[in-house]
Amino acid sequence: MNDIYARNIHKHYDNGRIRALNGVNLDIANGEFVALMGPSGCGKSTLLHMVGGLDKPDLGKLVVADQDLIKTRDLTSFRARTVGFVFQLHNLLPSLTAIENVMIPMHEIRQSESSRRKRALELLDKVGISKRVSGLPSQLSGGERQRVAIARALANSPPIILADEPTGNLDSKNGEQIMALLTQIWKTDGTTLLIITHDMSVAQRAQRMLYMRDGELSNNLPHSLCDDTGSAISFGGCFPGTKRDSERDIEVRS
């Protein structure tokens, strides 16, 4: 069963002058880990926002976790319960401590205060910063902030985690640790994980890699990202299951 099902998704801005998404088709299975790559401005984040219920397509069909996001009028409950966001710039609220930031999404879920606090503590322990629960974001390191952001994304146990360049603002060591954490969560919790990245080493952790260009999606990597055998190039490793694009012939997954 697919967790994310998108057909012919279009999203235009500025009276159609900017075509952010141009007939995107996407299928992501339950519990699958997919990496989405592509140049800046190609529509990756727009697609992620659509899937996460932050915005709606102008045209097409989009069903996420059995919920038709185009027909659903208010996506608040969907965002609270179905998806967890991890952003590049952690996006923690600066006036709140780590634990308070993790508890923020739980406002929409009816739970006792003590159980919310308990849950937040468990999550902070899970992401490895149980000793910094009272720290404000300004008092935490970049890696710690991103860990808090991951804990916040997991607050309501969503079946889908959407990560928009979660390591983009971190050094390589912290980036590695954050990816190891996200991978571990994906494996242990069985969540569906869709991650946007520019980093091939990050993408290589995924089961499947998709490439986006000019608002269109392909499961074939561009020539520049592949070696002679057609596998993805990255830090000496290969990404199985990807093919090299021909210059103009992008095979869009249908």
């Binding site: 926002h49 932050l54 915005d55 608040t76 609220l93 508890m103 999404p105």
Partner: protein, 372 residues
């Protein structure tokens, strides 16, 4: 769990100076309402007590005058009132304001010696004046404020009078002034030998309201009969004007305070566009965002109300250190004034917070997340 209120409190404390200035602005408005309200109620109460001392059932004044002090009841009218059935005692009192050697604004009361007691003037030192003499009795508060005692002289208008006694009435307007024989006051100020008002003691079995109506009918509406202090507005438009001023200032406080609060909350909302986007992204509903912003405004309003009420009470305490104020006003800390202050404080915060809160709910999460 961080509650919505605690979250709102944290938010407004992020810009402490701005928040404090806003609270200061609103609290000055609230303090003005409290101060004026307490003073107005005090003046009203004191005026009421002048009009209706404890032993008096009805007070008769001239109809159609703008201010009590302009009322005139003739000696003939007094005599006619005295003959009306049900009237046990009726006597006249002339109220005037004069310049003295100690104060530019000094209340004087003219009446016959035998009416002093029923009019509420209790001699506590010295003795009564003799009718027709240049003797006066002085209120305890006036004597204390102006450092006068029995045996001293006081200049009222152009004449010098001798203080022969000190009285207490429990009313600051009366206790802050002096009483002299009415024939002397007539000779000084009123050759027509008129009274400001006639005070009536009604026989026990008579319906006071009914008798008042009867007196008004006897004089074809030329006089007004008051049976309670609450009816003061009927004859003294000054009180109405003061009350109107209090309400007008309250309204201004709501508008100015509301704009101040709105400005602060609006700036705060725009500064936090991205944060509001994050809240919406992690599943906060529009309703919750609205409540959070409104809570911030209400916290400001509550703080401003508390500070404003305390400030108002302090201002009253300061005003009452002045002898002239003491002589005219006995502050009345009416519950109504505090209720008005609280309502104004809440209104200001709700009015000031609603629009920014609505704006905050309109932010599209994706747009807000892009906001730097």
């Amino acid at each position: 769990m961080i509650g919505l209120l605690k979250f709102a409190l944290k938010n407004i404390l992020r810009r402490r100076t701005r928040t404090l200035l806003t609270i200061g602005g609103i609290s000055i408005g609230i303090a003005t309402i409290v101060t004026l309200g307490i003073l107005a109620a005090g003046i009203q109460h004191s005026m009421g007590r002048v009009l209706m001392p404890a032993g008096v059932d009805l007070t008769i004044t001239e109809a159609g005058v703008g201010d009590l002090i302009m009322s005139r009841i003739t000696t003939k009218q007094l005599q006619k009132i005295q003959t009306i059935e049900g009237v046990e005692t009726a006597f006249g009192q002339l109220v005037s304001v004069t310049r003295t050697d100690i104060s530019p604004f000094f209340m004087i009361f003219g009446m016959h010696r035998q009416d002093l007691k029923i009019a509420g003037f209790e001699i506590v030192e010295g003795r009564d004046f003799a009718d027709g003499s240049n003797e006066v009795i002085m209120g305890r508060m006036a004597a204390t404020n102006f450092n006068k005692e029995v045996g001293d002289n006081i200049v009222l208008g152009i004449r010098t009078h001798k203080i022969v006694g000190i009285y207490e009435s429990g009313n600051p307007i009366q206790d802050g002034g002096a009483v002299l024989p009415i024939d002397v006051l007539w000779a000084n100020n009123n050759e027509a030998r008129e009274f400001t008002m006639v005070l009536v003691d009604v026989a026990d079995v008579v319906d006071v309201g009914g008798l008042g109506q009867k007196i008004e009918e006897v004089f074809d509406g030329e006089v007004i009969a008051l049976s309670s202090i609450a009816e003061l507005g009927k004859i003294d438009q000054g009180m109405e004007i003061i009350n109107f001023a209090v309400y007008a200032i309250s309204l201004l406080a709501v508008v100015i305070g509301g704009i101040g609060a709105m400005n602060t909350i609006m700036m705060s909302v725009f500064e936090r566009t991205r944060e509001i986007g994050i809240l919406r992204a992690v599943g906060w509903s529009r309703k919750r965002v609205f409540a959070m912003i409104l809570n911030e405004s209400i916290i400001i309003g509550i703080c401003a109300t508390v500070i404003g009420v305390l400030l108002g009470i302090l201002v009253i305490a300061f005003i009452m250190t002045f002898p002239t104020a003491k002589a005219l006003i006995q502050p009345v800390y009416s519950e109504v004034i505090f209720v008005i202050a609280v309502i104004v404080g809440i209104l200001v915060s709700v009015i000031g917070g609603t629009y920014p809160a609505i704006r905050a709910t309109k932010f599209a999460p994706t747009e807000a997340l892009r906001y730097e």
